[in-house]
Symmetry: C2
Subunit: 404 residues, 2 copies
């Protein structure tokens, strides 16, 4: 029987529920006597190389449950992408500490890291069981119905748009928010679930899966504003022009890339400002306000989906069961069965690693600036219970007395 | 006995609890038979002039309770500042509709509008009872311990900073958020309540009550970053340099003013970008991310303080009692008694109108870049129950095996 230590780490951008997966794995791992100790690597694979481990075996259940509902990665994270030399340092450290299992919670970049680690371990004849546990607010993982972390981020976006739409109803004009998601429009598209009745915003939704044409954008904003006296807009940080260039790069604010080659798009505030300036100057609309939801989307304390929390817990637990009883390395995947339930499976690391899932055509309205009912049907069960429900005054208009 | 219609309106920037005051007033007003009808003016005084009234008398209690927990101004709002001609249009409309009471929920600009309306009504011998009901996320109202709307916005800021601080713990580097509040630092200062243990952010807090010196700012960021390997910063949108010029004006993005002369500071994203660029270029820190919380601060659906909700309800109810039984026009004010309870009073409109309260010196740390325990003591009871409590792993470090 394989025995030794289990090392667990968290990679990539944090989410509101990534610690659920961590805690699910830790609690499950304690059930197996062949797992001698559970080590957490601080700051992802960087912590493995640096031997920056904490012993998680003594954590109280009460503290683990409190950590499970704490947003962001409790162990710390990294965006390092290991090359062969880096991998050899990882093995040296894991071997020195007697690790037999390595679990890494993260997105497609983390899966790619895991794929490299797994392959290099084979080449070096190091018997290490590697399990990738899915996580990303972008929802861009292949082989998964959805990724843990996305539902809670979507819930934040929905609650945010409910609020800013009500705000815009009160003071009118144009409001525009830039939403995260890189090349995938799932998170931006989730803003559509903020609508309750006709006239609710967002009225226009711009996704990275469709070319962003500025003239068309301005014309669509004008049409909505002419009709309603206001317009609420969701724009993905990753929208691109006809040449495939991200708008946020074109405005010259974001030339940074991370080690995985992802363009750093966080100066989304500049994109919001640019589009608002265009609306003011070219459409002559006086009041146009823009925000970027920024880091609040992935780490706001107190806005997680209960469905997401449960599933994130389960993928962590499932990864440990696979580590013990499964036949090899792989990535845990969520499959939807019925409407709504899920089951978990294990897929090859290469099926998830470094690949990007984007929205199906069936999820994008033919106008190109909205999502379809099919997308809302896909999204709604993920958002969890007790969403706020905005209400409206119903009182009828009073007849005018003055004839002005 | 005075009898007639009661007209109610909402002015200025929306809050998460302004509809509590609206609903408190409507429900209370229904108890008095001399109030023939309750009219809501849509879009503040603009709706009065335009005779854009809705009859609130038929609203169901269930719908009113649902509206009370819906953020933003259900009647719509305005930033119009009436002059004499505008006031005469207001009276013409109110007279034509037989209004005997006028309640206006808003901040110091709304109180100023109310003061002008009240004075002009006297001059014109129009017997109108004018009551101002306090509201503002900026907490800048004189004569009030705090203003309804501020506690819920502060709660949002606290939950947001809890999240972004945990996010910054995971990926390190500098994170900076620009917070609303115009010339008053209460909302920015509330970020301090996000801290639980030593090392928690925000580590630096920049308030508009103190001169913002860029060299000193950079030096303070460097000190924190050198010590912790990271730094989380809260910056008020209203920070000013030694010449009194708002930074967000200096960067040339915000020349707009509203009719009350308030500078439009909403391009706070540009301020965040500017300061992050300075941190990167002058301190050589690679990872520096900035957000502006923007409109989420005042309208996020699902993050109200229960204390704020109750008090906002009570000021609306109290205004109607004063309208019926009181001796004259005025502004409802909240006084703190003990630790913690409140009582309500009525002060002269001129004591609140157009004046701006800023943070007491006792609330600002001598460093100028933090708040004091006295401020936290003032703030904490306002935030309401069930705040998230971030938890941390306690596991001890594992001894290194390799001697690298």
């Amino acid at each position: 029987m394989r025995s030794g230590k289990l090392v667990i780490a968290e990679g990539g951008g944090p989410t509101a529920v990534i610690n659920q997966s961590l805690v699910g794995a830790i609690i499950e791992a304690r059930c197996f006597p062949q797992i001698e100790r559970i080590y957490g690597a601080r700051y992802g694979v960087r912590g493995v190389v640096d031997e920056d481990f904490v012993d998680l075996s003594m954590e109280s259940r009460a503290n683990l449950e409190a950590i499970a509902v704490t947003p962001s990665s409790a162990l710390g994270s990294t965006r390092d992408k290991p090359d062969l030399a880096y991998c050899r340092d990882i093995f040296a450290s894991l071997k020195a500490h007697g690790a037999a299992w390595f679990l890494y919670i993260g997105g497609n970049d983390t899966a790619e890291t895991m794929r490299i680690v797994s392959e290099e371990a084979d080449k070096e004849h190091y018997d290490l069981r590697c399990l990738h546990v899915p996580k990303t607010i972008d929802n861009d993982l292949m082989q998964n119905d959805h990724a843990p972390g996305f539902p809670s981020a979507a819930r934040f976006v929905v609650e945010a748009f409910m609020g800013v739409d009500l705000d815009d109803r009160a003071l009118r004009g144009v409001y525009l928010a830039v939403v995260m998601g890189r090349e995938s429009g799932f998170l931006t598209g989730s803003s559509a679930a903020a609508r309750t009745i006709d006239g609710d915003g967002p009225h226009l939704i711009y996704l990275p899966e469709r070319v962003f044409d500025e003239d068309r954008f301005l014309s669509e904003v004008k049409t909505v504003h002419d009709k309603l006296g206001r317009c609420v807009i969701a724009v993905s940080e990753g929208v691109r022009d006809a040449h495939g260039a991200p708008l946020s790069v074109r405005i010259g604010k974001t030339s940074e890339t991370d080690p995985h080659g992802n363009i750093q798009l966080s100066s989304a505030g500049a994109l919001a400002d640019l589009l608002c300036a265009e609306i003011k100057s070219k459409l002559g609309i006086k009041r146009a306000r823009g925000d970027a939801f920024g880091y609040l989307e992935r780490s706001f304390a107190g806005c997680a989906s209960d469905v997401d929390q449960r599933e994130a817990r389960e993928v962590g637990e499932f990864a440990v069961k696979q580590a013990i009883w499964g036949r090899g390395d792989g990535s845990v995947a969520i499959r939807r069965i019925g409407d709504y339930a899920v089951e978990y499976g294990l897929v090859k690391l290469a099926e998830v690693a470094g690949k990007t899932r984007v929205m199906d055509d069936a999820f994008i309205a033919s106008s190109g600036s909205d999502v379809t009912p099919a997308y809302l049907n896909y999204l709604r069960p993920l958002l969890g219970g007790d969403l706020p429900r905005p209400a409206r005054l119903r009182g009828g208009a009073v007849a005018k007395m003055l004839k002005r």
